[in-house]
Assembly symmetry: C2
Homo-oligomer: 317 residues x 2
Amino acid sequence: VFPAATRAQAAKADPLPSWNDGPVKQALIDFVSRVTKEGGPDFLPVEQRIAVFDNDGTLWQEKPAVQGAFLADRVQALVEKDPSLRQRQPYKAVLERDVDALMEGGEKALMELFAATHANMTQEQFQAEVRRFLRTARHPKLGVPYTQLAYQPMLELLQYLRDNGFQTWVSSGGGIDFMRVFSEELYGVPPAQVIGSSLETKYEKRGGRDVLWREPRVDHVNDKEGKPVGNDLHIGRPPVFVAGNVRSGGDIAMLEASRQRRGPSFQLLVNHDDAAREFAYQEKDGASLRAAREGGWQVVSMRDDWKTVFVTSAPPP
Amino acid sequence: VFPAATRAQAAKADPLPSWNDGPVKQALIDFVSRVTKEGGPDFLPVEQRIAVFDNDGTLWQEKPAVQGAFLADRVQALVEKDPSLRQRQPYKAVLERDVDALMEGGEKALMELFAATHANMTQEQFQAEVRRFLRTARHPKLGVPYTQLAYQPMLELLQYLRDNGFQTWVSSGGGIDFMRVFSEELYGVPPAQVIGSSLETKYEKRGGRDVLWREPRVDHVNDKEGKPVGNDLHIGRPPVFVAGNVRSGGDIAMLEASRQRRGPSFQLLVNHDDAAREFAYQEKDGASLRAAREGGWQVVSMRDDWKTVFVTSAPPP
Ligand SMILES: [Ca+2]
Ligand SMILES: [Ca+2]
């Protein structure tokens, strides 16, 4: 533990210590210097310094997707209460990790799963379940809590941007109420700066109390073209810095939206090419990397650009 | 114009100079003192200091509702382009201020009006229209721009709360994208801290550009039980300070929601009882005042509690 002054000095010396020197790190530092230089041609007033990060695969690992693991964990709990579910679809498919059987059920099966595991309860109950899960669950291969599998270089980048007057936001296909349980402690991003997919909620009396009740109906899907929509609804101002990752093309629309705004902007795309320290996976049609080439986005090679992958000191969830 | 130090000193002497001394002003100051007193039993950490204000009738006048005046102004513009609309409902009803004829058309007529005046355009186009309206329109009786009809005592209250570490939010039945045009300049509330009713928006290509397109379909109605829902979606944390006004009962649910949270909270209800300086109007069933009595909310008498009603120095819109 260093005194604050020493830490500040160290940060000044190298604000991104877990990033290897190279073109991506240099581009990040150049961009932040340019937009914070008063009187410079690219100067951005503080209220325009909005940075948005995807979550799964951008801020923490996504093999498996953590909310999927939560869903499976909840199915396990349901089956223990009602063993007859063990032989019923779509529960059987989840228990047996049988993706084909799950897909066979189509949207109806998925919605039944969501209703059974994410809905028909209050916001408080749901978030208590998420909290319990994060405390107890372990990554199946790496054996540690999921909150220890956030990316250290990205935590440094979030902090570096905040130190330079940026507001940092998360915008993810994952559930907004799921992420809000851990975003503040893990990323320094308060609940109000989290954007995600949502179920409809109702404010109504239940058991003599007024509660926010989670209905088994989708309100917003914050993926692909849904991301600029969710960002606009919550932020009301175009982000200038956007980070996403390869896998599904889910971040292309919001990365491209920031590039099209007038004035300076920055697009960062995380490529999962580090089989040794994390996972190496490709996007089937390569759309994200192609968009990066065409749009002049910065592509992070986890293998080459990152000294460390996972968070070096995680707070308890 | 005073130097900053002098202003700070004056604010310390009396943070709410446009409020008359009395029980409401005293209750406001007592509450803020209690929740900011470190080590005290009601101390709130900064991240929990969330204050939410209704807009129409709470932060500025609502006779007429400003967004209604905007809608009429847009109908006028449509009619100038296409005079045949002058004889067609629901446009005719708007031009003639014929509320009965308008109501006769029911929800379908209202949605046609909204579609014609608020939808089928980009977010940018819509907000440019709102900006133009606020610059040119005048209150029909008072003859000044609507932005000069914000309530000076409430502007002081917003600032007083911010000076004490509160985040100030607006949560209104009005349109989120309408309010975001003026909220920052008029109230010091940035777009990201505005919550309101919304239309569905789509991110799509139009005329070779990717744009946010306003669809003629309602997404969220931020009124009554919709307010705690909108607040939760945007803030993700229960507000501790909530202000609303009498008229329709539209704020009861969010005021009551803040009272039901664990720990300290404050509810403020503005009563329009000042026919001389503003307008005096009653709520038909008196539900808001009754809820205030039952819940121990503070009721503002505009006549007795406010030295001044309207903003004394408005920035240009
Ligand atoms: Ca992702
Ligand atoms: Ca109101």
